[in-house]
Structures are given as C-alpha cells and as structure tokens.
Amino acid sequence: MTLSLADALAGIILVALTAYVLLGGADFGGGVWDLLASGPRRAEQRRLISQAIAPVWEANHVWLILAVVLLFTCFPAAFARIAIVLHIPLTLMLIGIVLRGSAFVFRSYGGGGGRVFATASLITPVLLGICVGAVASGALGETGNGKRETFLAAYVQPWLTPFAFAVGCFALVCFAFLAAVYLTIEAKEPAVQEDFRSRAIWSGVAVFMMAAIGLVLSPEAPLVHRGLLTAGWALGLHLLTGAAAITVFWALWTRRYRIARIGAAAQVALIVWGWGLAQYPYLLPPDLTIAVAAAPRVTLELALAAVSVGAVVLFPSLYYLLKVFKGPSFE
C-alpha cells in the first residue's frame, strides 16, 4: 500500500478532526458537566469549568474550521455531497456551535446564558457524531446525492438512523469523559478534584458501554464493521485502545491524573483513527474514494505547502498557549 498525496491530505484532515475532538470536544464536555453540576460543590465545579475553557476554547474551535476548509479545498466533491445530504443536522450543529460559544462568552461577562451554554454543549456533540455516523454508514453514496424521490428519503433518512444516533451519543460521552479527566488536573481543591475523578470513572464506563452499543449496531455501517472486525490492523488497534482504557482506569483509581490525561487522549484519538482506517480508502462510502474525490494535483500540493508553513507558525504558538494556561506554573 503506497500513500498518495491525496491520502496524506485526508490524513491531515483526520489529524485536525482528532485535535478538534481532543481539545474542542473537551470544551463541549465541560459544558455537559456544567449542566450536570451537582452536590455541595456545584458552584465550585462550574467555576472550574469556566476557568478551564475561557482562554482556550476559541483556539480549540479553529481545528474544526481548518478541517472544513481543507475538506472543501482538497475534496470538493465530498464536501458538496456532505453539505447537501446532511444539510439539516449540520445546520442544527451550527446553531449549537453559535449558541454554545456566544452564551459562554455572554455568561463570562455577566450576561447570563449559563443554561443555554450547557444545553448547547450537550446537543452539539450528538449532532457532530450523527454526521460522522451517517458518513460511516455509507448513507452518503451516489444515490444519496439529493436525487432520491422524497424529501425524507433524501435529507432525513440518511442520518436519522439508530447507528448514527449511537455514534452521536458515543461522541457525547467521549467528550464528557475527556473533560472530566482533564478537569481532575485543573482542579485546585482536593474535593472538587475527587468530584471529577468519580465523574471521569463513570463516564469512562459510559464510553465503554456506548462503544459496545455502537459495535452491536455496526452492521448498519458495513465497511466500518468489516474493518473493525477483520482488517489486519484491527486487532492491534483494539489492543492499543484497550490498553489505553485500562491505563486510564488504573491511573484514575490511583490518582495519577497526568497519566490519566495522556491515556484518555490516546484512547479517544485511537477511536477516531479506527474510524478513519476502517473507511480507508473511502471518503464517503460506499463509492467515493479519496482518490476520486481529490482536487487537481496543484491544489493538493499548495494545500500541503500551506499546511506545512501554517504548522510552523501554529504549533509553537499553540504550545505557548497551552503551556501558559494548562502547564504547571509559567516560569
């Protein structure tokens, strides 16, 4: 198997999506824990979440924009098809993104909107997952290109499926899990730290259960189902993911939160990459491959150049941002 330039760019888009899930996803997860804040330390939990999200959420959000821009630059045919068939869930997701972001900043500056922020944080990840589930299930094939007879068949049935909904819930619990694990490190008060430790453990169990439900429903997504069960890399991937999951539980149990953070990020990243690998070489199964959807070579070369130059600027800046706000003390 040789990797083409188009494969490399599809890989970069998947990297951007992974970064969005690990960073932006955790910000949504924070909103979920804001909604579920409970117990005597409810206010402290909410304050911690707010402080953790505020300096970084906008930068984390840009990963999604980068993925979309690279998708329409490098794979315009796939972008057009996604935009047509998934118009409804994508529009709802956008409204969720708008409400989450603006309600968060309004609340930070005394404008209220806490409930809107928390609710939008709950709904948006489900919609994102539904879109991914619809793609994975092969519902965006050629026949789904806005050419089916009825409105329902063309614009609703491709994504309103048990499998897509399961992927949506899976995304939600993954985001909540990431947020809870990250917040154990952010917490300064031991009691709040314990709150998020137990939340991390329980949401880790929920991730495992949703993964099982997704696997049961996965015959709806034949390509991904086959890939995850029979491909040569599948066993290795499952072992790695399992090892990461066990590490997280062990680390949470023994209160080694830094290890838990690395393990949780690795676990979720492996899940995203498992989806990508299972679909390969299809961008939109069952018929649109990376090679067929790819833009002309000159565009791909320039996009790769732009990403390379951009990365030189981006990574040091991003490192500095995370070091200042997420590192130990800034010296």
């Binding site: 959000h61 045919a77 047509i84 409204i95 806005g146 409105f151 000159v298 320039l302 981006l314």
Partner: protein
Amino acid sequence: MSDLLAARSQMAVSLAFHIIFAVIGIAMPVLMVLAERRWQRTGDAAYLDLAKRWAKGTAILFAVGAVSGTVLSFELGLLWPRFMQLAGPIIGMPFSLEGFAFFTEAIFLGLYLYGWERVPPRMHLLAGVLVAVSGAASGVFVVIANAWMNAPTGFTIEAGAFTHIDPIAAMRNPAALPQTLHMILAAYAATGFAVAGIHAFLLLKNRTSTFHRAALSLGLLVGAPAAVLQPFAGDIAARYVARRQPVKLAAMESLYETRAGAPVRFGPGIVIPRALSLLAFHDPNAVVKGLDIVPREEWPNVPLVHASFDLMVAFGTYLALVGLWAGWLALRRRDLTRQRRFLWAVVLAGPCGFICTEAGWMVTELGRQPWIIYGVLKTADAVTPMPGLIVPFTTITLVYCALAVIVGRLLYGQIVKSPA
C-alpha cells in the same frame, strides 16, 4: 419565497451579521495595543484601564465573530454546494491561509485576554500585536476569495469543468488588491470612528474625564487616517469595476444606456455632467458602458445597488471630512474636549462607518448578481437542491436577531460602567 431567494437571504443575513464582528476583530486589537503601549511608555493608568476595558469588549465581539464565521464556512457548502465543488480547489488556498491566520488570532487573543498576570509585559504587548496582524491577514485572505468571485482567474473551462487550475493566479486576480485595500481601511475607519463616537458622547457629558479623552484620541488616531484615505481606495476600486465589471458600475450609477461623457446621478435629482466618465476613466469624454450591454435577465437589482452605493459614498464622504477636521485640530494642537461642535460631529460619525461597510458589501454582492462567479456560474445554478430553505433562513435570522440584542445590551452595560 423561492428556495433561491431564501438561500440568498440567509447568506446575506449571515454575512451582514458576521461582517460587523469581523471588522471590529480586525481593528479593535490595534486600539488595545496602542492603549497598552501608551500605558507602558507613560505609566498613565487611564491607558491601562482603557486597554483592559477594550479587551473585554473585544472578547465578546470576537467570540460572536468566531462562531458566525464558522457558520459561513459551512454555509458556503450548505447553500451553494455546486459553487464550492467547482471553486473549492481554486479558492481553497486563501481560505486555508485564513484558517491559519484565524488560528494565530484566537491563540494570541486568549493569551492577551487572560494573560495579564501570566506572561511578561513585552510578551503581552507582542501577543496583542500578533492578534492585530493576524486579524488583518484573515480579512485580506477572505476578501481575496470574494474578489475571485468578481474577477475569476486561474483556470480554463472545458466541457463545463474547470481545468488548468492555478490557485496562485486565482489569488492574484485583478479585484484582489482594490477590494482588500478598501475593506481593511473600512475596518479601521468604521471601528475607530465608532469608538471615537462613543467616547465623544461621554466627553460631552463630562469634559474633564482623562479616560474618555484618551479613548477619543486613540479612536481618531485609527479611524481618521483610514477615513481620509478611503476615497482614494474607493477610486481604485471603482476604476477596477469600470474596466472589469461594467454592468456592476452601470447599476451603481443607474446608467441604463452606454454613452460618452456619462454623468453622475446622486440622490433625488442631482446630476453632475461628465462626472462618471471622469471618475471611472479619469477622462470627461470617456465612453461608459450602460446596462444595455447585457440582456435584461443579467441585470442586478439596479435601484438597490444604486441606493446602496449612494449611501456608502455619502456617509463615507462625511467620515473623510470629519477625519480631515480631526487632523486639522490635531495639527493646531487644539484641546479636542473644548470643541463641542467637533465632538458632536464625531458622535454622528459613530455609526457611519458600519453603515458604509454594510452598504459597500451590498454594492459588491448584489452588483455581481445574477452571477455567483462573475460571467461563469449563475447563482441560481449553484444553489443546493434541498427544498424548504425558508426554514433555515428564518431560524438563522431569529438566532442572529437574539444575539444582536444580547450583544448590544452587554456592550451598553460595559460602556455605562466606564469611569467618569
């Protein structure tokens, strides 16, 4: 309402909403940085206070700009999938670069807003400078993509498909320079005068406030030069339009028939002979093409384009005159707080820059119709096949109306809280 009209309306609402926040996101960081720099040099606490308060306002506006910009990047496909399928590989380049510019903007804004106590002072100021630079760069890249829709270059069409794609040539399209120059100046003029207008109003109520005096001077420092330069940038843009998009120029000026020595018609009943030929081609006898060069179905909405253009020119001229007045007072070292008439003029100028910006975008977007890619692809052929587009249009409009009200209330609260 037809699906096409609903899609166009949704795009118009989304752009009209986003552009306010985008413009402020470009110019406000410059004001923050200037205030912080003056504080670091003079130790005058009013400037530190100003930098912190402006940073708060910027945080609110930038967040709304970031999410409404995300909506647009998706809407390009949700509403115009056929356009994106054709144009994506050609104009994806500026969008990708914009993505990275936006990234640095968001990263350093986070550092600026929350890093006052966490990073050294020099680094803090540098973060502000990087926000300002990357904000301007984002604006330039996005406008380059829009310019390509007006002046599509860098490809050939063979059997309905684009071949021989050259994304670099597409970025160097002839509309790119006139449009980006005009837009960036508009951002500084609109934001600078809006800030100056607010603080001029508060100075009129309280003449001795050093806080408002400092804010007024910085607002004018950014807004006035941009407003004075803008007519020249406008002239460059208009001459580009005259040569490359004659139908748009004809709509801007309501010129129905091609003629030599064409006049400018302004408002109700003002006609200046030969002025259009002079302005568009720097020759009073030049032939200016009228709407008659294309069939009627290829006309844009002439009354709307013409009215928007007049509105932009009228308010823009007012801003330039107030800018000159400010420069004259500054040269003579007059105390601005004693010039009540001038302060009132600045108060009136406050909203003018944003009115100009909206009107200017109406001119360039409506004036390009019925084309989405000028002369290549009709807007009607690019729209999504999904029916019922009035539903997303209504939803987005309601969400944005609610956001506008909340943002307005929050900013009002911030301004009311400002020190006397």
